[in-house]
Symmetry: C2
Subunit: 428 residues, 2 copies
Amino acid sequence: MRIATVKVRDIRFPTSRQRDGSDALNQGDYSATYVTLTTDSGRTGHGLTFTNGRGNEICVAAVKALARHVEGRELGEFPAGMRSLLFDLTRDTQLRWLGPEKGVLQMAAAALVNAVWDLASRQAEKPLWKFLVDLAPKDLVSALDFSYVTGVLTPEEAISLLAERSEGRREREKTILEEGFPAYTTSTGWLGYPDEKVERLCREALAQGFTAFKIKVGTDLAENVRRVALVRDAIGPSNRLMLDANQCWETAEAIRHVSALARFDPYWIEEPTSPDDILGHAQIARAVAPIGVATGEACQNRVVFRQLLEARALSFAQVDACRMAGISEALVVILMAAKFGIPVCPHGGGVGLCEYVQHLSFFDAIALGGMGSGQICEYVDHLHEHFIDPCRVIRARYLAPAAPGTSAAMKADSLDAHEFPGGAAWQD
Amino acid sequence: MRIATVKVRDIRFPTSRQRDGSDALNQGDYSATYVTLTTDSGRTGHGLTFTNGRGNEICVAAVKALARHVEGRELGEFPAGMRSLLFDLTRDTQLRWLGPEKGVLQMAAAALVNAVWDLASRQAEKPLWKFLVDLAPKDLVSALDFSYVTGVLTPEEAISLLAERSEGRREREKTILEEGFPAYTTSTGWLGYPDEKVERLCREALAQGFTAFKIKVGTDLAENVRRVALVRDAIGPSNRLMLDANQCWETAEAIRHVSALARFDPYWIEEPTSPDDILGHAQIARAVAPIGVATGEACQNRVVFRQLLEARALSFAQVDACRMAGISEALVVILMAAKFGIPVCPHGGGVGLCEYVQHLSFFDAIALGGMGSGQICEYVDHLHEHFIDPCRVIRARYLAPAAPGTSAAMKADSLDAHEFPGGAAWQD
């Protein structure tokens, strides 16, 4: 299978106009660096990386720079072709300097890697999660890159781990196809929403069956106490309440805020400080236990996750499908987390992230037997209408995607209308 | 002082043709994302960030995205204007997602931040190091960003540290103006050079007065032993020999290689593994002591350095002037390293890095009294001819820069000839 062309588009949704997605540090127009691969035989694969508006053009430029490794490429047999492509994308002798394996370059690699997974799973006529679940452990592992993490998980150990957990797999798959995968909602508590809107959204989410809710917190302690009390009141004492600080605190400040909010019984504190501060996360985790620390949406690669796991710095691994080198790197993190017994609770939201990460959660639950250990997948009810095969959340559970591919292909009309700066959505 | 315009150019030198700069993972065309600021009154400030060829256009795109925070900006009094600009560049509510504070965005911020330091020191009619040395501790600290590192160094502690070390400062300045700052050479041992060339370059460097030499190593142990033996032979038993692995090893592999090379008495092992692997560096440091671990050229920001220092993961902090948010963030790392008693040995090479980091070393030696604690500054003899005020290394010592500014302004002819892709250097 030879990839003939790589097309990349700058797609943006003007979400900042409603303050959707507002938190302590970000206020964005949800955007996608959107890649379409076309093979000689006319097959297509779609992949995207999520960005926050301004700067999406930088990520588009990075995809163009990396496209030399994809355009005209004979992919060869899966999985060997996948690993060699991954190496070329993350180890380009000149582009590597701009990371390495982080920032815009890694996000651009994600869009391309994800498009190839889309192509491969479409060719197999399976949704991504099923394609992954059905791969032999050694084939799956052969598609991935374990460099810099062999100290905690070698490829051989990963194969053994998958083989060990294969017991009961069919049963798990049957159950999850019937019951779906549990979701929590982040749509209720954006920082820019007024109280009445938050209360109304909580009521609506309760009516939809949600039992886990996330609210944004900031640097004003009194305001945090007020808003967290309001949400706890709205959802009642027995539902789960997660807090998300979006990196706004220093280490000591995080401990002070979380301690003051402990009486509202939060389930986790998310991104309490800089995502680069592994030792700080470990310090916070020790101080606020049994409240868990969750992080990952800004973790750049498997090496950072490895250390968070080693340092016991997190209780929930929030894998993202576009921040690291796409699905390939997310899978390495899921395998490491399984070894450490840390539940993976993927990062949804933005545009397309829920579509992607549902596949990761289904794979995790079936192949690694993760259900029942606190795993839950983020759900944000935004922009799904633009996808051909959108994620479906019913009674607070993700239903298993059924169509072949990664669910990330957008509708042609949506792409045209939201292309930046020429699309109709950007004309006023 | 109002900045009227921001101009950015894509400047590349075809260094890969000679395999200059070749190491275990990189093989580049040394490049600069080159920024010129012009004020209403016609003053100019020049700043650059170093990249490795392909992808320089991505960094140029990032400068353009960040320029909105600079163009038309009234800088106000130094230092308050500097800190608020730094905040705007690193905390843009949309662009921040592309980092945060890492990768291409941080490098682009560096070019802009460095251009403003150039402007400020030119206005003061001082070379940067002297401008910095003459600032009152509270003014210098007020220009910097200590967020996420207050757990190890608060702004107040930084002011105290500078004040404490001010004793003997005049004497140190006098001495260093007479004697210069010690340099080591990396020009002798690029991985792509044949043996005869390495031997010849070692002889020439010895004749020039160098007593410290760095050689690249790779993943082939037998080849490493052969090449390190060759260089040790060429420079004799009493000179310093540094090894640079450029991130090519796993943790255990690093320990194995360095242990096997220990008989050649290396002074440090540089970048033994992933720059993101703080705990891995700490493990290597414990295993290979008394050989030191050096790292920093790929450290993304002060938060990563903070942890390397806290975890006792490095013996030498190789601050770069363009990787992080420019001179501003490098100064925070220098202050933290001073507190931990870790010598700063800045990262030179590429294009323009030696011009920048000499200022950091002179500042460090004078303001923080670092001389005599193992500090030495990297010197690579490439591309200095393109600078108006190039660094000067005589008898293996950097001479104190005398012209106002940061020394990073390039000659107009060099800029024109090396602009990519239109310049004369890129026409064949």
